[in-house]
Chain length 393, copies 2
């Protein structure tokens, strides 16, 4: 059900003909009643048309829905691309009877080409006519590009005896290294029936994005189009602006989707969890975690079941963080491989654990303070290269 | 002849048993007379033992030679590793009758393990006894790790009617993204018989490294051990401290070696030249060139003969440089693919040129100023991943 799990939310996924495969490629998410919205966008200097169009609308704080096109990213398309994004949103607004400035537009797919809005227009009407609770499933499928499966998550909590639900869907399998404001092509849409003030929603989104979507990387490539949108329509009748439980539910849905994105990384066979502790500052912890998570050499070693301590240290060394090699403790799969530059001789144990498959944990205890950070990534495989030698994004 | 092309320089390459393959793994370079030295080192926060030992000696400005061990990097090895590096240098100094503080040590290979100095000691003696002009060839071979062939370059110029020679050798095929001071494991050794003051030599090295070795990347991974050393022994009798021709010769030798390193990148099939022009500042130009050159997605596209304009733009967008998408002109192999976000429809022409093989040029004209920069890299292939899933560095 994904984004239609909360009360008052409908969705659909239809074919507009922009994916060469002919798969579902146009998703519509819509609230039966007015809603507030908060979001986070890519920090790319070449933001896609939808990012430029959405930013001021999301800043205004009210939106009832979003029309999402997958197949063509509408990025690096100049003033005409901006106009295309506005037209698509206007068509969806008209078809659903929504005020024009409360319908958002997102896009993902190939960078460069324009979206053929005239060709897509009939599908927008079909998407509006197909809106339903069951349509959440098709919507999650329609936003996929190189994803191998749809990614959805739902949390239901109880506040003052009433159920409040947070639902979400995400897409993204390559060009994933978001660094969004508050702080890919990662597209994430969350809906809730909680009644939340827009300022409170922004605070919840800001706090959650930083530790979830801003702490994953597949290939170190930040997209022109990364977007996270969280809508709240209040249909549950429960005021949740100050609810910790609500904030936790949003964070959990985001964390589940972020994990799913990494696990479905292009060509990936396993998730790598980089845990940095004992850093002098949070910035240092995050910088070290990010460098390690982005290391092609290390990710290739993980694919090869090689507990390659040297590549962890090499990556940490280029993070521009405060670092004392004599205090650094490096571990893989919970096995300590080196303490301050003295190898522990436990490499074979770590390799045996790696060969069992599943998630690989990399630990760096820096011994300099109490700041920590975590980053999720995936292994780098020959399939990633083969795949991206063929696929045009 | 490489480093022994200039007058008064001898070298050798022998087997010390640290490479599992049993290949040559210990190189010695030595001047028959006193020499000055200038250098540049990795900026990693986890510098290898040899970097820590060499830095103050190179700062002092006098050195007659260097003993290079390939197979074990002696990096992240704590105080004992530092002692190992000092002992190796001392053994080479003793065997050649050189003052202890005028013999340097460098190492490359696996990070983590210590160098078994006692086992290597007899080979140091053999290396000293084998020093010869012809030994330059073996030396270039002995410093290789994952390189597929030795990399050497020589320039001979005439100053005031007398020949002056600059020779060099380099190794490096992975973990290559140097950012050295003045401004990875890249090891580069240049020798010359020019008579150059140490301050002049430092200026020449600093200027040349920035545009050559600091403008290449193979995998975005800066090594713990990157080192460039340039020795001048004055054996030609020609004072060259203020000679432009000499500075040019050093730069040309470095540029030739830098190109050779990229062309021999792990798994690489071709060189990619990223040229940024019209940037608002040199920093911006270099940042954009570096991001594009480090893009896994783009490098995979090059391997697949895909003129993927979108991935160029995406990479440029994450460089934190001043950038106006409406002014950006993107080209590949000399074919303009987009002007300010308007595709030119010449993709097929670029693809045809790519399929001819050879070097691929990527152009970004930013239209914001007159600063430019160039970066060299290589394509990313499934072989890179397979190779690094097996090889432990």
């Amino acid at each position: 059900m994904s984004v239609t799990a909360p009360k008052g939310w409908l969705a659909s996924g239809v074919r507009a003909g922009t994916k060469p495969s002919g798969d579902l490629d146009l998703a519509l998410v819509w609230s039966e009643k007015p809603a507030v919205v908060a979001g986070a966008f890519t920090t790319s200097s070449v933001p896609s048309a939808h990012v430029m169009v959405c930013r001021p609308l999301v800043a205004a704080g009210s939106a009832r829905g979003v029309i999402v096109s997958a197949g063509i990213a509408n990025a690096f398309t100049g003033a005409e691309g901006t106009h295309d994004a506005q037209r698509l949103a206007a068509l969806a607004a008209q078809a659903t009877g929504t005020p024009a400035d409360e319908m958002l537009n997102c896009a993902t797919g190939t960078i460069g080409p324009r979206i053929p809005v005239d060709d897509v227009a009939p599908a927008v009407k079909v998407a509006a006519d197909s809106l339903s609770v069951e349509g959440g499933t098709d919507a999650a499928r329609a936003i996929m590009t190189t994803d191998t499966h749809p990614k959805t998550a739902v949390r239901t909590i109880e506040i003052d005896g009433t159920q409040v639900t947070v639902g979400g869907m995400a897409k993204g399998a390559g060009m994933i290294a978001p660094r969004m404001e508050l702080q890919g092509t990662l597209l994430v849409f969350l809906t809730t029936d909680a009644d939340v003030g827009v300022d409170a929603l922004r605070a919840v989104v800001g706090g959650s994005v930083e530790d979830t979507f801003n702490a994953i990387t597949i290939d170190g490539c930040m997209s022109t189009s990364d977007t996270v949108l969280v809508f709240a329509n209040g249909a549950s009748g429960v005021e949740a602006s100050t609810s910790e439980a609500f904030a936790d539910a949003v964070r959990e849905v985001m964390a589940e989707l972020a994990y799913a994105v990494v696990a479905d990384g292009e060509g990936a066979t396993r998730v790598v969890r980089v845990q940095v502790s004992g850093a002098a500052s949070s910035e240092d912890a995050k910088a070290v975690a990010r460098e390690v998570a982005n290391s092609m050499l290390l990710k290739a070693a993980v694919w090869g079941n090689d507990p390659n301590m040297g590549r962890i240290v090499q990556a940490a060394g280029q993070a521009n963080a405060k670092l004392d090699p004599d205090k650094l403790v490096v571990s893989m799969c919970g096995i300590v491989l080196s303490v301050g530059g003295n190898e522990t001789g436990r490499r074979a144990e770590a390799e045996a654990l790696m060969r069992q498959g599943g998630e690989v944990t990399i630990g760096l205890e820096m011994g300099l303070g109490d700041a920590d950070a975590q980053y999720l990534t995936c292994d780098l495989t020959p399939e990633y290269v083969r795949f991206n030698g063929d696929y045009t994004t």
